[in-house]
Symmetry: C3
Subunit: 306 residues, 3 copies
């Protein structure tokens, strides 16, 4: 598939969520990401975004996601300006919408937005003329992470059709899990979620999602396993960690060679053993690697240059 | 007017204040800003500042002014380095002058300086060999904001000669108001200021400035109205807000179609109603838009390349 | 010496310390720095690092060192990404090694690391595939500062062989002093250290280092004098400052014209008088100036392009 062919079907102005993207659209992004990875290695496409000014608006601090977007935008030749919001007093006293409208007036064309409030990216898209890329909003969505994870899984498993992916941990509070359920489900995977009741409540009602009673039930014959970071500040009990920790013995229940994913950063020894996190089955590093070309693909598509 | 013609009359090494600039010099900057706006849209002039290293030294946090200068410098091809001072521990323990002298030694040639102390930019200009651009010093001056406002008003009104501009609010504590009084007055406008007594005290003595007793007196037949941000932490009483708030009814007193300016960010419902701030007469967005080309013009003139 | 000739002997993958560098290697870096200074002035070498992505990982805030590295990397055409760690919440919750490994996956190739823990740079070099440049680790080492100081001294004194350099102050807690002792000693200088007992304890055992009993003994016939910043928070007594302060009278004891160095920022009136810090013998500004070309040389050598 050529970059030109990808462009034809792409009509969205923002990337707010993976929910609502068709399988075809997801496939296009993932194919373009592979092209972008090659282009980056070959130092090609270095001026594709030369007419764009990309603002990084991280209302929550983030090193990995911010750096990943910054490198993606720079690899395509965009002008990048970091609003430096998190940790500054600027985040107080002016509303998100006012700040973004001001940025738009300065000539910023695309904004990568991370915000603690679910729905912040949708609000920004509705109230400004900017192209908004959601880099994580509250517990709602983190679409580019899910796209990187989908690319990583497809490279490991081939097609996702009919494959079972187990997602273990605090699914309810995880924007990564939520976006992955949409993306992987749309790409044909069957999703099993598992965790303490409060962490999976409500997911029985999601189409294509099965709620497993125990981690063992979740892992049985799973073709891939994703564990989630335990937010230590969210008051899980130590017993919960033990009951839902991914370890070598439990991984024996999964399909032979089933890979392990984690959105990072990991709490080794809490939700996953250090051996598994750093072992041969772990795709954790690959997820990070795929983050840059996936974001290059998204930026190029939204800018209308791919 | 060509860029070359602008250069001939420009002899200043710094932009510390608009006070002291002649009408001719102001006109030159504003004309060049219009050229720069076109050049930016056409992606021209992209290497005009390739020999300059512009340091952003914001001792007070600022998103809009910092981003505006950063984009202006990058649009002209400068190397930009953000000193990242505000909010860091670096701002303590080393004096402003020592920090700037160190920067000068690293090869930085121009510094955009925002500082809480009135006179900081003058001090920097006197004690270093750097080209200093004042991005706001205490309650003293904010020349590039006034230049952007002057450009905005001229585009709305044509010549400012003989026009009356009302400035309402805490004029005494506003570096924006102070610089606007100088710039607009030099361009031929008559200035009326109005606000609670403590907010306008002393301005009777300024040449060409009239202190109005009420907001109604200030607005009567005014050709343009600028309201100022109420610094909520400066302890104005709620009754003051009501007495000096710009609303639709009061705007009826101004000349037909008189535009409204505000340096932003606005406190909607405090010093201005939301309807007016977002209405057809509002030039608030245009003020931000004009900030980038005005700063491009200032950078290019000070670097001696325009 | 040409840049190509420099490259041949350079086999290190990291710059963690000056300890262990041979005299020949030190000479090569210093010669290349002189070339780089000329190249920078001539805007040459602007794409030498175009294939490198340099991450700035300052776990301790620093303006001068960070800016110096940032300008060095940009002058050579590298992509630079500031991790923005100091002062952010990011520095908590994820280990140094995990953060750096993640960065490596995003495509970052070289990391400039400043960290409060002695040994942090060695740890990073051992546990990642990144090229690590130590920008200061605890009280251990600050190699590029020592290289800039060595270049500055050589320009002032010619060869350092057989010259005596006095280092006065809190040597024990100074990574700058420690790296200078290694660098200057390797280049043939004799080192005298002096300060309150706790500040020089243990240095009698260092080869080539003499511990002087008083500041007068340290300065007598010294060919150059380096004073160190008194870390006011480390609880030195005012009497210590008086006893070890560098002033005009004491400098009379040194060799005629002996230059004065200080890693900055100075506490004028504490460890050095203002007259000396700003006088004709002071090389403090030159040390900063030499910081950029020295860092360009290091980056180019480590990237294998010089």
């Amino acid at each position: 598939m050529t970059v030109g062919a990808v462009a034809a079907g792409w009509v969205h102005r923002h990337l707010l969520d993976v929910e609502g993207l068709t399988r075809e659209e997801l496939e296009r992004i993932l194919h373009l990401a592979v092209d972008m990875r090659e282009a980056r290695a070959a130092r090609a496409h270095g001026s594709l975004l030369e007419n764009e000014i990309v603002g990084l608006a991280f209302y929550e601090a983030s090193t990995r996601t911010r750096v990943s977007f910054e490198l993606a935008a720079k690899a395509l030749g965009a002008t990048v300006v970091d609003l430096g919001i998190a940790g500054s007093s600027v985040s107080k006293g002016e509303s998100l919408v006012d700040t973004l409208r001001t940025l738009e007036r300065t000539g910023v064309t695309m904004v990568v937005l991370r915000h603690a409030s679910s729905g912040a990216a949708h609000l920004a898209a509705r109230t400004t003329g900017l192209c908004i890329i959601n880099a994580g909003d509250g517990t709602h969505a983190h679409p580019t992470q899910a796209l990187a994870d989908a690319l990583t899984l497809r490279e490991a498993l081939g097609s996702l059709s009919g494959r079972t992916v187990a997602i273990v941990g605090d699914v309810a509070h995880s924007r990564v899990a939520r976006s992955n359920i949409h993306a992987l489900g749309t790409l044909g995977a069957h999703i099993r979620v598992a965790g303490p009741r409060a962490w999976v409540a409500g997911f029985e009602a999601w189409p294509g999602v099965e709620v497993a009673r125990t981690i063992e039930d979740a892992l049985r014959k799973a073709n891939a396993v994703m564990t989630l970071r335990v937010q230590l500040e969210r008051g899980a009990r130590p017993a919960d960690h033990l009951a839902w920790r991914l370890d070598e013995e439990r991984m024996q229940l999964a399909a032979p060679g089933a890979p392990i994913l984690h959105p990072g950063p990991t709490n080794e020894g809490v939700e996953i053993t250090a051996d598994l996190a750093n072992g041969a089955r772990s795709l954790i590093g690959r997820q990070v690697e795929n983050g840059v070309p996936v974001r290059m693909a998204v930026l190029a598509l939204l800018a209308g240059v791919a």
